[in-house]
Amino acid sequence: MSAPASRSRLVDLPDQSGRSTATLLASLSARLAVLHGVTGAAAVGSLVSGFAALGREVARTAEGARLRAALAAGRAGSNGALLWQELLIEEWASASSPSPILDHLRNDLALLFAGDLAETLELMPIPGEPSGVPAEDARATFLDCVLGLWAYSREMTRAIEAMVGPKLGDVPVISNAAARPPPPDGSILR
């Protein structure tokens, strides 16, 4: 039976090797390896720049645009922008390549659900690929970073809820004391 023509599809990026347990594992191990070769400022700067890049994307949505406008209208928005300009945080973050934080989160989440993780771990070390994509020249601003943090934390919450899934219903709301195993007998616990 063929799929309906109105169905949309999630596919891999055309110029990459695609999302599989092996490539996701290679990406995670490469990230961990790179951490030993870069400074803390470079790593944190890349993360901050990544949050700002996510914020710029979120600002294109209706919800994100409203949130950004509300943030900009308040004192927190102007004070934050002032801090970023005066302490040169904006310069520092803008000079760092944005880390694709949402892709990282989703890829790491997919590894937790992979059915062939144990077999793939036996193939380690798997060489990682360089991204091959130059970083965009957009500036990292305070408002974009805050918006990115908001979107990232919401995605993280959903990811953890997805990990729990329907198993949360199996955990009893009321734990019966009689059903619990007896405590270990010993003088220390008395």
Partner: protein, 198 residues
């Protein structure tokens, strides 16, 4: 040529020493900026790849709905995960624009629908758009996108219809007026021409 560091009485535009300093500092600033930019690009190219996802929307798919102000429009579509691993999707609406120039930042229920799709899983995803009571009638166009995906937007068109609440009320009034024997209310702006008596 005479170089001096005494700025008194010297015009900075004509003083060659001042010009040399200005050019040199501009050059250094530009050099630092371009080096940082180059290093940023290099960092992006050499950094570890993060395999991503692309939404390939069907060419036939366009989400449409129509309702009156205060109503709701449900938008839903079918999505299949053709990747080999799980994928998290989060639906987001872009601002909607009317031909009149009105921009609508719609509220949705849930605020941002999300779903974890297993490999080869097909799911029906959707959200409900809440049309505000003061929305001007018109056709609003925008897009539904999946946050964080590199490409792909599903076109969305929502028609806000003119409220038809006045029509039945007017009918009821005229029926009551007829029963009481009162004259029909007429519009002041458009008086009806009298017919000549025969």
């Amino acid at each position: 040529m005479r170089f001096t560091n005494d700025s008194s009485g010297a015009d900075s535009n004509t003083d060659p020493y001042a010009q040399l300093l200005r050019l040199q500092s501009e050059y250094q600033a530009r050099l630092v900026g371009e080096t940082l930019r180059y290093l940023k690009h290099l960092q992006g190219v050499l950094g570890p790849a993060a395999p991503g996802t692309v939404l390939a929307p069907s060419a036939e798919l366009a989400l449409e709905g129509a309702t009156e102000p205060g109503g709701r429009v449900a938008l839903d579509f079918e999505l299949e995960n053709l990747q080999r691993v799980h994928c998290m999707v989060s639906l987001q609406l872009t601002p909607l624009l009317a031909e009149s120039g009105t921009t609508w930042f719609p509220d949705t229920e849930p605020a941002a629908a999300s779903r974890l799709l297993a490999p080869d899983e097909v799911a029906r995803l959707g959200l409900t758009v809440l049309v505000p009571t003061n929305a001007p009638p018109g056709t609003y166009r925008g897009g539904l996108l999946l946050l964080g995906f590199h490409e792909g937007t599903i076109p969305v068109t929502i028609s806000v219809l003119a409220p038809a609440a006045d029509a039945p009320r007017r009918k009821r009034r005229s029926r009551a007026a007829r029963a009481s024997g009162a004259a029909k209310p007429r519009r002041k702006s458009a008086p009806r021409p009298r017919k000549p008596r025969s």
